[in-house]
Protein backbone atom coordinates (compact mmCIF):
# COMPACT_ATOMS: atom_id res chain seq x y z
CA UNK A 1 0.00 0.00 0.00
CA UNK A 2 0.94 3.63 0.24
CA UNK A 3 3.02 5.61 2.65
CA UNK A 4 2.96 5.07 6.33
CA UNK A 5 0.99 7.92 7.91
CA UNK A 6 1.30 6.73 11.48
CA UNK A 7 3.67 4.19 12.87
CA UNK A 8 3.60 3.18 16.50
CA UNK A 9 6.60 1.28 17.74
CA UNK A 10 6.75 -0.66 20.98
CA UNK A 11 4.38 1.72 22.79
CA UNK A 12 4.10 1.22 26.53
CA UNK A 13 1.59 3.02 28.75
CA UNK A 14 1.43 2.26 32.44
CA UNK A 15 -0.95 3.42 35.16
CA UNK A 16 0.69 3.91 38.51
CA UNK A 17 -2.03 3.27 41.09
CA UNK A 18 -2.19 2.56 44.78
CA UNK A 19 -2.73 -1.10 43.93
CA UNK A 20 0.39 -1.30 41.81
CA UNK A 21 1.50 -0.66 38.26
CA UNK A 22 -1.05 -1.48 35.62
CA UNK A 23 0.48 -2.07 32.22
CA UNK A 24 -2.49 -1.04 30.14
CA UNK A 25 -0.51 -0.96 26.93
CA UNK A 26 2.52 -3.19 26.94
CA UNK A 27 4.73 -2.74 23.94
CA UNK A 28 2.42 -2.64 20.95
CA UNK A 29 3.51 -1.79 17.42
CA UNK A 30 1.27 -1.02 14.50
CA UNK A 31 1.03 1.27 11.52
CA UNK A 32 -1.61 3.04 9.47
CA UNK A 33 -1.10 3.78 5.79
CA UNK A 34 -2.50 6.82 4.08
CA UNK A 35 -6.15 6.33 3.20
CA UNK A 36 -6.30 3.07 5.09
CA UNK A 37 -8.91 1.87 7.58
CA UNK A 38 -7.37 -0.05 10.45
CA UNK A 39 -9.28 -1.73 13.25
CA UNK A 40 -8.12 -2.41 16.79
CA UNK A 41 -10.19 -5.18 18.29
CA UNK A 42 -10.42 -6.58 21.81
CA UNK A 43 -12.44 -6.88 24.98
CA UNK A 44 -12.99 -3.98 27.38
CA UNK A 45 -9.86 -3.29 29.34
CA UNK A 46 -7.46 -4.78 26.81
CA UNK A 47 -5.80 -1.39 26.37
CA UNK A 48 -7.10 -0.49 22.94
CA UNK A 49 -8.60 2.86 24.03
CA UNK A 50 -5.57 3.69 26.14
CA UNK A 51 -3.28 3.01 23.20
CA UNK A 52 -5.22 5.53 21.10
CA UNK A 53 -5.25 8.14 23.86
CA UNK A 54 -1.50 7.57 24.06
CA UNK A 55 -1.15 8.45 20.40
CA UNK A 56 -2.92 11.73 21.14
CA UNK A 57 -0.95 11.98 24.39
CA UNK A 58 -4.18 12.50 26.27
CA UNK A 59 -3.70 9.76 28.85
CA UNK A 60 -4.59 11.24 32.18
CA UNK A 61 -1.43 11.85 34.11
CA UNK A 62 -1.21 11.02 36.94
CA UNK A 63 -1.81 8.08 37.16
CA UNK A 64 -1.14 7.19 33.52
CA UNK A 65 2.21 7.60 31.81
CA UNK A 66 3.67 6.64 28.47
CA UNK A 67 6.80 4.84 29.55
CA UNK A 68 8.31 3.91 26.24
CA UNK A 69 8.11 3.58 22.50
CA UNK A 70 7.78 5.81 19.48
CA UNK A 71 4.78 7.34 17.77
CA UNK A 72 5.83 8.46 14.34
CA UNK A 73 3.26 10.58 12.55
CA UNK A 74 4.18 11.92 9.12
CA UNK A 75 7.81 11.27 9.91
CA UNK A 76 7.76 13.09 13.23
CA UNK A 77 8.06 11.31 16.60
CA UNK A 78 5.18 12.76 18.60
CA UNK A 79 6.55 11.52 21.90
CA UNK A 80 9.54 13.81 21.41
CA UNK A 81 7.18 16.80 21.28
CA UNK A 82 5.67 16.20 24.70
CA UNK A 83 2.02 16.19 25.67
CA UNK A 84 1.77 19.91 26.45
CA UNK A 85 3.86 21.11 23.52
CA UNK A 86 2.65 23.57 20.93
CA UNK A 87 3.34 21.06 18.14
CA UNK A 88 1.15 18.46 19.81
CA UNK A 89 -1.65 20.97 20.29
CA UNK A 90 -1.53 21.87 16.65
CA UNK A 91 -1.60 18.24 15.61
CA UNK A 92 -4.59 17.42 17.79
CA UNK A 93 -7.81 18.33 16.09
CA UNK A 94 -6.09 19.64 12.98
CA UNK A 95 -4.10 16.66 11.72
CA UNK A 96 -5.37 13.88 13.96
CA UNK A 97 -9.04 14.01 14.92
CA UNK A 98 -10.59 11.82 17.55
CA UNK A 99 -14.19 10.72 18.00
CA UNK A 100 -15.14 9.24 21.33
CA UNK A 101 -17.50 6.59 22.50
CA UNK A 102 -19.92 8.69 24.53
CA UNK A 103 -21.76 11.15 22.32
CA UNK A 104 -23.93 12.11 25.28
CA UNK A 105 -21.04 13.56 27.26
CA UNK A 106 -18.41 14.33 24.65
CA UNK A 107 -19.70 17.82 23.93
CA UNK A 108 -19.62 20.71 26.36
CA UNK A 109 -23.15 20.87 27.83
CA UNK A 110 -23.13 24.63 28.43
CA UNK A 111 -21.98 25.85 25.01
CA UNK A 112 -23.95 25.76 21.80
CA UNK A 113 -22.95 23.29 19.12
CA UNK A 114 -22.05 26.18 16.87
CA UNK A 115 -19.77 27.93 19.30
CA UNK A 116 -17.92 24.68 20.00
CA UNK A 117 -17.55 23.93 16.32
CA UNK A 118 -16.50 27.49 15.50
CA UNK A 119 -13.99 27.54 18.34
CA UNK A 120 -12.20 24.47 16.98
CA UNK A 121 -12.28 25.83 13.43
CA UNK A 122 -10.89 29.18 14.52
CA UNK A 123 -8.21 27.42 16.50
CA UNK A 124 -6.84 25.65 13.45
CA UNK A 125 -7.71 27.98 10.60
CA UNK A 126 -7.13 31.67 10.19
CA UNK A 127 -10.74 32.72 9.67
CA UNK A 128 -13.06 35.27 11.19
CA UNK A 129 -15.80 34.35 13.61
CA UNK A 130 -18.40 34.70 10.91
CA UNK A 131 -16.45 32.62 8.42
CA UNK A 132 -15.90 29.94 11.04
CA UNK A 133 -19.63 29.87 11.65
CA UNK A 134 -20.30 29.46 7.94
CA UNK A 135 -17.76 26.64 7.68
CA UNK A 136 -19.52 25.09 10.65
CA UNK A 137 -22.89 25.23 8.93
CA UNK A 138 -21.39 23.67 5.79
CA UNK A 139 -19.79 20.81 7.69
CA UNK A 140 -23.01 20.11 9.55
CA UNK A 141 -24.70 19.87 6.17
CA UNK A 142 -21.91 17.58 4.99
CA UNK A 143 -22.63 15.17 7.84
CA UNK A 144 -26.31 15.17 6.80
CA UNK A 145 -27.70 17.21 9.65
CA UNK A 146 -30.98 18.82 8.60
CA UNK A 147 -31.60 22.49 9.47
CA UNK A 148 -27.90 23.01 10.06
CA UNK A 149 -28.35 26.70 10.81
CA UNK A 150 -30.85 25.99 13.58
CA UNK A 151 -28.76 23.16 14.99
CA UNK A 152 -25.76 25.44 15.31
CA UNK A 153 -27.66 27.39 17.93
CA UNK A 154 -28.80 24.30 19.83
CA UNK A 155 -27.20 22.98 22.99
CA UNK A 156 -26.00 19.37 22.98
CA UNK A 157 -28.74 18.28 25.39
CA UNK A 158 -31.33 19.26 22.81
CA UNK A 159 -29.96 16.76 20.29
CA UNK A 160 -30.11 12.96 20.01
CA UNK A 161 -27.10 10.70 20.43
CA UNK A 162 -26.78 10.04 16.73
CA UNK A 163 -26.96 13.75 16.02
CA UNK A 164 -24.22 14.48 18.53
CA UNK A 165 -21.99 11.82 17.05
CA UNK A 166 -22.51 13.45 13.66
CA UNK A 167 -21.38 16.72 15.20
CA UNK A 168 -18.27 15.02 16.56
CA UNK A 169 -17.58 13.77 13.04
CA UNK A 170 -18.24 17.26 11.69
CA UNK A 171 -15.56 18.68 13.97
CA UNK A 172 -12.90 16.33 12.59
CA UNK A 173 -14.21 17.01 9.11
CA UNK A 174 -14.08 20.78 9.46
CA UNK A 175 -10.40 20.66 10.27
CA UNK A 176 -9.61 18.19 7.47
CA UNK A 177 -7.71 15.81 9.72
CA UNK A 178 -5.48 13.34 7.89
CA UNK A 179 -6.06 10.70 10.52
CA UNK A 180 -9.27 10.09 12.42
CA UNK A 181 -9.25 7.90 15.48
CA UNK A 182 -12.64 6.65 16.56
CA UNK A 183 -13.04 4.99 19.92
CA UNK A 184 -16.11 2.74 19.83
CA UNK A 185 -17.90 5.39 17.78
CA UNK A 186 -21.22 3.58 17.58
CA UNK A 187 -21.38 1.48 20.74
CA UNK A 188 -23.62 3.88 22.61
CA UNK A 189 -26.10 4.27 19.75
CA UNK A 190 -29.15 2.39 18.53
CA UNK A 191 -28.43 -0.31 15.99
CA UNK A 192 -30.07 1.50 13.07
CA UNK A 193 -28.27 4.74 13.94
CA UNK A 194 -25.02 2.77 14.27
CA UNK A 195 -25.20 1.70 10.66
CA UNK A 196 -26.00 5.26 9.51
CA UNK A 197 -23.09 6.75 11.43
CA UNK A 198 -20.66 4.11 10.16
CA UNK A 199 -21.82 4.59 6.57
CA UNK A 200 -21.38 8.34 6.92
CA UNK A 201 -17.94 7.99 8.45
CA UNK A 202 -16.79 5.55 5.78
CA UNK A 203 -18.15 7.72 2.98
CA UNK A 204 -16.30 10.78 4.28
CA UNK A 205 -13.11 8.81 4.86
CA UNK A 206 -13.12 7.39 1.34
CA UNK A 207 -14.05 10.73 -0.22
CA UNK A 208 -11.35 12.69 1.57
CA UNK A 209 -8.77 9.88 1.52
CA UNK A 210 -8.45 10.16 5.26
CA UNK A 211 -6.95 7.37 7.30
CA UNK A 212 -9.14 5.90 9.98
CA UNK A 213 -8.42 3.89 13.11
CA UNK A 214 -11.49 2.15 14.49
CA UNK A 215 -11.26 0.95 18.07
CA UNK A 216 -14.04 -1.52 18.74
CA UNK A 217 -15.13 -4.83 20.14
CA UNK A 218 -17.69 -5.19 17.38
CA UNK A 219 -16.26 -7.66 14.88
CA UNK A 220 -19.20 -7.28 12.51
CA UNK A 221 -18.40 -3.61 12.08
CA UNK A 222 -14.76 -4.36 11.48
CA UNK A 223 -15.29 -7.02 8.84
CA UNK A 224 -17.36 -4.71 6.73
CA UNK A 225 -15.12 -1.68 6.78
CA UNK A 226 -11.55 -2.34 7.88
CA UNK A 227 -8.59 -2.99 5.60
CA UNK A 228 -6.45 -4.47 8.32
CA UNK A 229 -7.10 -5.70 11.86
CA UNK A 230 -5.04 -5.76 15.03
CA UNK A 231 -6.37 -7.97 17.82
CA UNK A 232 -5.37 -6.91 21.31
CA UNK A 233 -5.41 -8.87 24.53
CA UNK A 234 -4.20 -7.69 27.95
CA UNK A 235 -2.22 -4.76 26.60
CA UNK A 236 -0.54 -6.69 23.79
CA UNK A 237 -1.26 -7.33 20.16
CA UNK A 238 -1.91 -11.05 19.75
CA UNK A 239 -2.74 -11.20 16.07
CA UNK A 240 -2.61 -8.86 13.12
CA UNK A 241 -3.21 -9.07 9.43
CA UNK A 242 -5.43 -8.03 6.55
CA UNK A 243 -9.10 -8.34 7.35
CA UNK A 244 -9.77 -11.28 5.15
CA UNK A 245 -6.95 -13.33 6.63
CA UNK A 246 -8.05 -12.63 10.16
CA UNK A 247 -11.68 -13.43 9.51
CA UNK A 248 -11.21 -16.50 7.36
CA UNK A 249 -8.00 -17.90 8.75
CA UNK A 250 -7.62 -16.77 12.34
CA UNK A 251 -4.53 -18.34 13.90
CA UNK A 252 -4.54 -17.12 17.47
CA UNK A 253 -6.82 -18.94 19.93
CA UNK A 254 -8.12 -15.62 21.23
CA UNK A 255 -9.11 -14.40 17.78
CA UNK A 256 -10.77 -17.73 17.10
CA UNK A 257 -12.63 -17.37 20.39
CA UNK A 258 -13.72 -13.84 19.51
CA UNK A 259 -15.01 -14.91 16.11
CA UNK A 260 -16.86 -17.86 17.63
CA UNK A 261 -18.55 -15.67 20.17
CA UNK A 262 -20.14 -13.42 17.56
CA UNK A 263 -23.82 -14.28 17.11
CA UNK A 264 -24.56 -15.29 13.57
CA UNK A 265 -27.69 -14.67 11.65
CA UNK A 266 -27.49 -17.75 9.52
CA UNK A 267 -28.83 -20.81 11.28
CA UNK A 268 -26.89 -23.50 9.54
CA UNK A 269 -23.59 -22.27 10.89
CA UNK A 270 -23.53 -23.38 14.47
CA UNK A 271 -26.15 -23.90 17.07
CA UNK A 272 -24.73 -22.19 20.10
CA UNK A 273 -22.62 -19.22 20.83
CA UNK A 274 -19.21 -20.16 22.06
CA UNK A 275 -18.11 -17.51 24.50
CA UNK A 276 -14.53 -17.46 25.69
CA UNK A 277 -14.41 -18.99 29.15
CA UNK A 278 -13.09 -16.97 32.09
CA UNK A 279 -12.16 -13.33 32.32
CA UNK A 280 -9.16 -11.26 31.26
CA UNK A 281 -6.19 -11.32 33.64
CA UNK A 282 -5.59 -8.76 36.37
CA UNK A 283 -3.31 -6.26 34.67
CA UNK A 284 -1.66 -5.42 37.98
CA UNK A 285 -0.48 -9.03 38.48
CA UNK A 286 0.28 -10.51 35.11
CA UNK A 287 1.67 -14.05 35.03
CA UNK A 288 5.11 -14.69 33.66
CA UNK A 289 3.74 -16.74 30.78
CA UNK A 290 1.24 -16.41 27.97
CA UNK A 291 -1.52 -14.17 29.37
CA UNK A 292 -4.19 -16.07 27.53
CA UNK A 293 -3.08 -19.49 28.75
CA UNK A 294 -5.65 -19.82 31.60
CA UNK A 295 -8.49 -19.28 29.13
CA UNK A 296 -6.97 -20.97 26.13
CA UNK A 297 -8.97 -24.00 24.97
CA UNK A 298 -5.91 -25.25 23.08
CA UNK A 299 -3.49 -24.37 25.85
CA UNK A 300 -1.01 -27.18 26.15
CA UNK A 301 1.34 -28.28 28.84
CA UNK A 302 4.06 -27.22 26.43
CA UNK A 303 3.01 -23.57 26.76
CA UNK A 304 3.33 -23.61 30.55
CA UNK A 305 6.40 -22.02 32.05
CA UNK A 306 7.42 -20.39 28.77
CA UNK A 307 7.74 -16.63 28.65
CA UNK A 308 5.17 -14.55 26.78
CA UNK A 309 5.40 -15.48 23.08
CA UNK A 310 6.77 -12.95 20.59
CA UNK A 311 4.84 -12.02 17.48
CA UNK A 312 5.78 -14.27 14.59
CA UNK A 313 4.83 -14.31 10.96
CA UNK A 314 2.48 -16.96 9.63
CA UNK A 315 0.85 -17.61 6.28
CA UNK A 316 0.71 -14.39 4.32
CA UNK A 317 3.09 -11.49 4.50
CA UNK A 318 1.07 -9.36 6.85
CA UNK A 319 -0.17 -12.07 9.18
CA UNK A 320 1.40 -12.16 12.63
CA UNK A 321 0.42 -14.03 15.79
CA UNK A 322 1.75 -14.22 19.33
CA UNK A 323 1.22 -17.92 20.01
CA UNK A 324 3.47 -20.96 20.33
CA UNK A 325 1.05 -23.24 18.61
CA UNK A 326 -0.01 -23.71 15.04
CA UNK A 327 -3.76 -23.70 14.95
CA UNK A 328 -5.42 -23.31 11.61
CA UNK A 329 -9.13 -22.84 11.72
CA UNK A 330 -9.80 -23.88 8.15
CA UNK A 331 -13.15 -25.48 8.80
CA UNK A 332 -14.36 -22.51 10.88
CA UNK A 333 -17.29 -20.70 9.42
CA UNK A 334 -17.07 -17.08 8.39
CA UNK A 335 -19.47 -14.39 9.11
Amino acid sequence: MGNKLLEVKNLKTTFFTVNGEIKAVDGISYYVDEGEVVALVGESGCGKSVSQLSVMQLVQSPPGKIVGGEIVFQGQDLLQCGAQSKEMREIRGARIGMIFQEPMTSLDPVQTVGSQLAEVIRRHKKVSKKQAWEIGVKTLEAVSIPDARVRMKNYPFELSGGMRQRIMIAITLACQSQLIITDEPTTALDVTIQAQIMELLMRLVRENKTSLVVVTHNLGLVTRHADRIYVMYAGKIVESGVTEDIITKPRHPYTIGLLNSVPKLRRDCSEDLNPIEGAPPDLANLPNECYFLPRCPYGKQACKGKKYPDLRQVDGQEHFIACFMDIGNDEGCTI
Partner: protein, 306 residues
Protein backbone atom coordinates in the same frame (compact mmCIF):
# COMPACT_ATOMS: atom_id res chain seq x y z
CA UNK B 1 -10.01 3.79 30.35
CA UNK B 2 -9.96 3.82 34.12
CA UNK B 3 -13.31 2.16 33.89
CA UNK B 4 -11.98 -0.60 31.83
CA UNK B 5 -9.14 -1.23 34.19
CA UNK B 6 -11.44 -1.29 37.15
CA UNK B 7 -13.93 -3.58 35.54
CA UNK B 8 -11.45 -6.38 35.34
CA UNK B 9 -12.55 -8.82 38.00
CA UNK B 10 -11.85 -12.44 38.49
CA UNK B 11 -14.73 -14.85 38.54
CA UNK B 12 -13.22 -18.27 37.95
CA UNK B 13 -15.09 -20.61 40.26
CA UNK B 14 -12.41 -22.24 42.35
CA UNK B 15 -10.45 -19.04 42.67
CA UNK B 16 -13.37 -16.81 43.59
CA UNK B 17 -13.01 -17.19 47.33
CA UNK B 18 -9.28 -16.75 47.38
CA UNK B 19 -9.55 -13.71 45.18
CA UNK B 20 -12.31 -12.22 47.28
CA UNK B 21 -10.11 -12.59 50.32
CA UNK B 22 -7.21 -11.01 48.52
CA UNK B 23 -9.47 -8.22 47.30
CA UNK B 24 -10.65 -7.52 50.83
CA UNK B 25 -7.06 -7.34 51.95
CA UNK B 26 -6.32 -5.01 49.05
CA UNK B 27 -9.29 -2.85 50.01
CA UNK B 28 -8.05 -2.48 53.56
CA UNK B 29 -4.58 -1.66 52.34
CA UNK B 30 -6.05 0.87 49.92
CA UNK B 31 -8.09 2.44 52.72
CA UNK B 32 -5.05 3.05 54.87
CA UNK B 33 -2.81 4.08 52.01
CA UNK B 34 -5.26 6.78 51.03
CA UNK B 35 -6.06 7.78 54.60
CA UNK B 36 -2.43 8.48 55.33
CA UNK B 37 -1.31 9.00 51.79
CA UNK B 38 -1.75 12.75 51.89
CA UNK B 39 1.72 13.08 53.25
CA UNK B 40 3.04 14.21 56.56
CA UNK B 41 0.07 16.49 57.28
CA UNK B 42 -2.40 13.60 57.41
CA UNK B 43 -0.17 11.61 59.74
CA UNK B 44 0.41 14.55 62.09
CA UNK B 45 -3.30 15.30 62.15
CA UNK B 46 -4.20 11.73 62.97
CA UNK B 47 -1.70 11.68 65.81
CA UNK B 48 -2.97 15.07 67.06
CA UNK B 49 -6.58 13.90 67.11
CA UNK B 50 -5.51 10.82 69.07
CA UNK B 51 -3.55 12.96 71.54
CA UNK B 52 -6.50 15.34 72.02
CA UNK B 53 -8.81 12.40 72.67
CA UNK B 54 -6.39 10.84 75.16
CA UNK B 55 -5.92 14.19 76.92
CA UNK B 56 -9.69 14.69 77.09
CA UNK B 57 -10.21 11.25 78.59
CA UNK B 58 -7.36 11.34 81.10
CA UNK B 59 -7.27 15.03 81.96
CA UNK B 60 -7.42 14.66 85.77
CA UNK B 61 -4.28 12.52 85.59
CA UNK B 62 -2.34 15.19 83.73
CA UNK B 63 -2.56 17.94 86.27
CA UNK B 64 -2.67 18.39 90.01
CA UNK B 65 -5.02 21.40 89.85
CA UNK B 66 -8.69 21.71 89.03
CA UNK B 67 -9.83 24.14 86.34
CA UNK B 68 -11.69 26.27 88.91
CA UNK B 69 -9.01 26.43 91.59
CA UNK B 70 -8.19 30.13 92.11
CA UNK B 71 -5.05 31.56 93.65
CA UNK B 72 -5.42 35.32 93.40
CA UNK B 73 -1.97 36.02 94.81
CA UNK B 74 -0.53 34.12 91.90
CA UNK B 75 -2.57 35.76 89.10
CA UNK B 76 -1.29 36.58 85.60
CA UNK B 77 2.04 34.84 86.05
CA UNK B 78 4.13 33.52 83.19
CA UNK B 79 5.30 29.96 82.73
CA UNK B 80 6.93 28.30 85.71
CA UNK B 81 7.60 24.71 86.87
CA UNK B 82 4.42 24.85 88.99
CA UNK B 83 2.31 26.33 86.24
CA UNK B 84 3.49 25.05 82.87
CA UNK B 85 1.73 27.74 80.87
CA UNK B 86 1.33 30.30 83.63
CA UNK B 87 -1.85 31.46 85.34
CA UNK B 88 -4.82 33.59 84.34
CA UNK B 89 -6.32 36.72 85.89
CA UNK B 90 -7.81 34.71 88.76
CA UNK B 91 -4.65 32.69 89.34
CA UNK B 92 -6.07 29.55 87.77
CA UNK B 93 -3.59 27.19 86.12
CA UNK B 94 -3.80 27.80 82.36
CA UNK B 95 -2.49 24.36 81.45
CA UNK B 96 -5.20 22.70 83.56
CA UNK B 97 -7.91 24.84 82.01
CA UNK B 98 -6.69 24.06 78.51
CA UNK B 99 -6.61 20.33 79.26
CA UNK B 100 -10.16 20.45 80.63
CA UNK B 101 -11.11 22.63 77.66
CA UNK B 102 -10.16 19.74 75.38
CA UNK B 103 -12.54 17.52 77.30
CA UNK B 104 -15.32 20.11 77.10
CA UNK B 105 -14.86 20.82 73.39
CA UNK B 106 -14.57 17.20 72.36
CA UNK B 107 -17.58 16.09 74.38
CA UNK B 108 -19.70 18.91 72.92
CA UNK B 109 -18.35 18.15 69.46
CA UNK B 110 -19.04 14.41 69.66
CA UNK B 111 -22.41 14.69 71.38
CA UNK B 112 -23.76 17.29 68.99
CA UNK B 113 -22.53 15.27 66.02
CA UNK B 114 -24.45 12.30 67.40
CA UNK B 115 -27.57 14.44 67.72
CA UNK B 116 -27.18 15.81 64.21
CA UNK B 117 -26.57 12.32 62.85
CA UNK B 118 -29.58 10.72 64.49
CA UNK B 119 -32.03 13.50 63.67
CA UNK B 120 -30.60 14.27 60.25
CA UNK B 121 -30.36 10.69 59.00
CA UNK B 122 -33.87 9.84 60.22
CA UNK B 123 -35.38 12.91 58.56
CA UNK B 124 -33.32 12.51 55.38
CA UNK B 125 -34.19 8.83 54.97
CA UNK B 126 -37.86 9.50 55.58
CA UNK B 127 -38.00 12.51 53.26
CA UNK B 128 -36.10 10.75 50.48
CA UNK B 129 -37.86 7.44 50.74
CA UNK B 130 -41.44 8.63 51.08
CA UNK B 131 -40.91 11.65 48.88
CA UNK B 132 -44.04 13.50 47.82
CA UNK B 133 -45.49 16.28 49.91
CA UNK B 134 -43.83 15.06 53.08
CA UNK B 135 -40.39 14.99 51.48
CA UNK B 136 -40.94 18.40 49.94
CA UNK B 137 -42.08 19.89 53.23
CA UNK B 138 -39.07 18.52 55.11
CA UNK B 139 -36.71 19.86 52.48
CA UNK B 140 -38.33 23.33 52.46
CA UNK B 141 -38.07 23.45 56.24
CA UNK B 142 -34.41 22.60 55.91
CA UNK B 143 -34.08 25.43 53.39
CA UNK B 144 -35.71 27.73 55.90
CA UNK B 145 -33.32 26.64 58.59
CA UNK B 146 -30.39 27.07 56.23
CA UNK B 147 -31.37 30.70 55.73
CA UNK B 148 -30.45 31.34 59.35
CA UNK B 149 -26.71 31.13 60.00
CA UNK B 150 -25.97 28.16 62.30
CA UNK B 151 -24.27 30.36 64.87
CA UNK B 152 -27.29 32.66 65.09
CA UNK B 153 -29.69 29.72 65.31
CA UNK B 154 -27.60 28.21 68.08
CA UNK B 155 -27.50 31.61 69.76
CA UNK B 156 -31.31 31.94 69.82
CA UNK B 157 -31.78 28.37 71.00
CA UNK B 158 -29.08 28.68 73.62
CA UNK B 159 -30.86 31.70 75.05
CA UNK B 160 -33.97 29.53 75.45
CA UNK B 161 -32.52 26.24 76.60
CA UNK B 162 -29.53 27.32 78.62
CA UNK B 163 -26.00 26.09 78.68
CA UNK B 164 -25.60 22.60 80.09
CA UNK B 165 -23.46 20.25 77.99
CA UNK B 166 -26.57 18.26 77.09
CA UNK B 167 -28.66 21.16 75.82
CA UNK B 168 -25.76 22.99 74.16
CA UNK B 169 -24.82 19.87 72.24
CA UNK B 170 -28.45 19.37 71.17
CA UNK B 171 -28.63 22.99 70.01
CA UNK B 172 -25.42 22.77 68.02
CA UNK B 173 -26.53 19.40 66.73
CA UNK B 174 -29.80 20.83 65.44
CA UNK B 175 -27.95 23.50 63.51
CA UNK B 176 -26.06 20.76 61.65
CA UNK B 177 -29.17 18.73 60.78
CA UNK B 178 -29.92 20.25 57.33
CA UNK B 179 -26.51 19.15 56.05
CA UNK B 180 -27.25 15.51 56.85
CA UNK B 181 -30.83 15.70 55.59
CA UNK B 182 -29.77 17.14 52.26
CA UNK B 183 -27.01 14.63 51.64
CA UNK B 184 -29.02 11.60 52.74
CA UNK B 185 -32.07 12.82 50.83
CA UNK B 186 -30.03 13.19 47.67
CA UNK B 187 -28.44 9.78 48.09
CA UNK B 188 -31.75 8.08 48.72
CA UNK B 189 -33.34 9.78 45.73
CA UNK B 190 -30.58 8.57 43.44
CA UNK B 191 -30.46 5.12 45.02
CA UNK B 192 -34.22 4.71 44.86
CA UNK B 193 -33.95 4.53 41.11
CA UNK B 194 -31.39 1.74 41.13
CA UNK B 195 -32.42 -1.65 39.92
CA UNK B 196 -31.50 -3.56 43.03
CA UNK B 197 -33.84 -1.48 45.17
CA UNK B 198 -36.54 -2.04 42.60
CA UNK B 199 -35.70 -5.74 42.68
CA UNK B 200 -35.96 -5.82 46.46
CA UNK B 201 -39.39 -4.23 46.22
CA UNK B 202 -40.46 -6.69 43.56
CA UNK B 203 -39.61 -9.71 45.70
CA UNK B 204 -41.87 -8.21 48.33
CA UNK B 205 -39.57 -6.66 50.91
CA UNK B 206 -41.22 -4.10 53.14
CA UNK B 207 -40.43 -0.40 53.09
CA UNK B 208 -38.52 -0.39 56.33
CA UNK B 209 -36.50 -3.41 55.43
CA UNK B 210 -35.47 -1.80 52.17
CA UNK B 211 -34.72 1.44 53.94
CA UNK B 212 -32.42 -0.08 56.51
CA UNK B 213 -31.00 -3.03 54.65
CA UNK B 214 -30.34 -1.50 51.28
CA UNK B 215 -30.42 2.27 51.40
CA UNK B 216 -28.78 3.07 54.72
CA UNK B 217 -25.62 0.96 54.23
CA UNK B 218 -25.04 2.79 50.97
CA UNK B 219 -25.03 6.08 52.80
CA UNK B 220 -22.50 4.89 55.43
CA UNK B 221 -19.36 6.28 53.82
CA UNK B 222 -20.97 9.70 53.46
CA UNK B 223 -22.31 9.58 57.00
CA UNK B 224 -18.94 8.66 58.48
CA UNK B 225 -17.26 11.55 56.68
CA UNK B 226 -19.97 14.04 57.64
CA UNK B 227 -19.77 12.92 61.24
CA UNK B 228 -16.02 13.47 61.43
CA UNK B 229 -16.31 16.85 59.74
CA UNK B 230 -19.28 17.69 61.96
CA UNK B 231 -17.24 17.30 65.15
CA UNK B 232 -14.90 20.05 64.00
CA UNK B 233 -17.74 22.35 62.94
CA UNK B 234 -19.57 21.77 66.22
CA UNK B 235 -16.45 22.66 68.17
CA UNK B 236 -16.16 25.80 66.09
CA UNK B 237 -19.75 26.85 66.85
CA UNK B 238 -19.29 25.95 70.51
CA UNK B 239 -16.23 28.17 70.71
CA UNK B 240 -18.18 30.95 68.99
CA UNK B 241 -21.03 30.71 71.49
CA UNK B 242 -18.55 30.64 74.33
CA UNK B 243 -16.70 33.64 72.92
CA UNK B 244 -19.96 35.59 72.76
CA UNK B 245 -20.76 34.41 76.26
CA UNK B 246 -24.16 33.05 75.36
CA UNK B 247 -25.14 29.64 76.66
CA UNK B 248 -21.61 28.81 77.66
CA UNK B 249 -20.38 31.27 80.24
CA UNK B 250 -17.40 31.72 82.51
CA UNK B 251 -16.04 29.91 84.49
CA UNK B 252 -16.64 26.93 82.21
CA UNK B 253 -13.25 25.73 80.99
CA UNK B 254 -14.15 26.27 77.32
CA UNK B 255 -11.47 27.54 74.97
CA UNK B 256 -13.87 30.13 73.58
CA UNK B 257 -14.49 31.57 77.06
CA UNK B 258 -10.77 31.51 77.79
CA UNK B 259 -9.97 33.36 74.57
CA UNK B 260 -12.56 36.02 75.36
CA UNK B 261 -11.32 36.48 78.92
CA UNK B 262 -7.70 36.36 77.85
CA UNK B 263 -8.20 38.94 75.11
CA UNK B 264 -8.65 41.60 77.79
CA UNK B 265 -5.01 41.04 78.72
CA UNK B 266 -3.70 40.90 75.14
CA UNK B 267 -1.08 43.58 75.86
CA UNK B 268 0.24 42.28 79.18
CA UNK B 269 -0.31 38.52 79.01
CA UNK B 270 -1.03 37.52 75.41
CA UNK B 271 -0.47 33.85 76.23
CA UNK B 272 -3.87 33.75 77.98
CA UNK B 273 -5.69 34.15 74.66
CA UNK B 274 -3.08 32.64 72.39
CA UNK B 275 -2.67 29.19 73.96
CA UNK B 276 -6.35 28.20 73.96
CA UNK B 277 -6.65 29.68 70.47
CA UNK B 278 -3.78 27.59 69.16
CA UNK B 279 -5.26 24.47 70.72
CA UNK B 280 -8.68 25.23 69.23
CA UNK B 281 -7.16 25.79 65.82
CA UNK B 282 -5.05 22.62 65.97
CA UNK B 283 -7.99 20.47 67.01
CA UNK B 284 -10.36 21.77 64.34
CA UNK B 285 -7.76 21.62 61.59
CA UNK B 286 -6.59 18.11 62.42
CA UNK B 287 -10.18 16.90 62.62
CA UNK B 288 -10.90 18.31 59.18
CA UNK B 289 -7.73 16.81 57.70
CA UNK B 290 -8.67 13.40 59.10
CA UNK B 291 -12.16 13.90 57.68
CA UNK B 292 -10.71 14.72 54.26
CA UNK B 293 -8.57 11.60 54.36
CA UNK B 294 -11.58 9.50 55.33
CA UNK B 295 -13.61 10.96 52.50
CA UNK B 296 -10.97 10.15 49.92
CA UNK B 297 -10.45 6.67 51.32
CA UNK B 298 -14.18 5.90 51.35
CA UNK B 299 -15.10 7.53 48.05
CA UNK B 300 -15.69 4.78 45.48
CA UNK B 301 -15.47 7.35 42.68
CA UNK B 302 -11.87 8.02 43.53
CA UNK B 303 -10.84 4.36 43.44
CA UNK B 304 -8.30 3.59 40.80
CA UNK B 305 -7.62 7.25 40.21
CA UNK B 306 -5.15 7.63 43.02
Amino acid sequence: MDNEIREISCITDEETRLKAKKRRKQNIRYFFTVLFGRGILAKISFVLVCIFILVAVFCPLLTSYTPFQQELSNALKGASPQHLLGTDNLGRDLFTRIVYGARFSLSIGLLSSVWALVIGVALGLAAGYFGGIFGGLVMRLMDAQLSIPPLILALCLAAVFGGAVFSISLIIGISAVPGYVRVIYGQVLSLREYDYVEAARLIGQGNFKILFKHLLPNCFPTIIVMFTMGVGTAIMIESGLAYLGIGIKAPTPSWGVMIFEGYKYIFSSPHLALWPGIMLMLLIISLSVVGDGLRDALDPKLRGKL
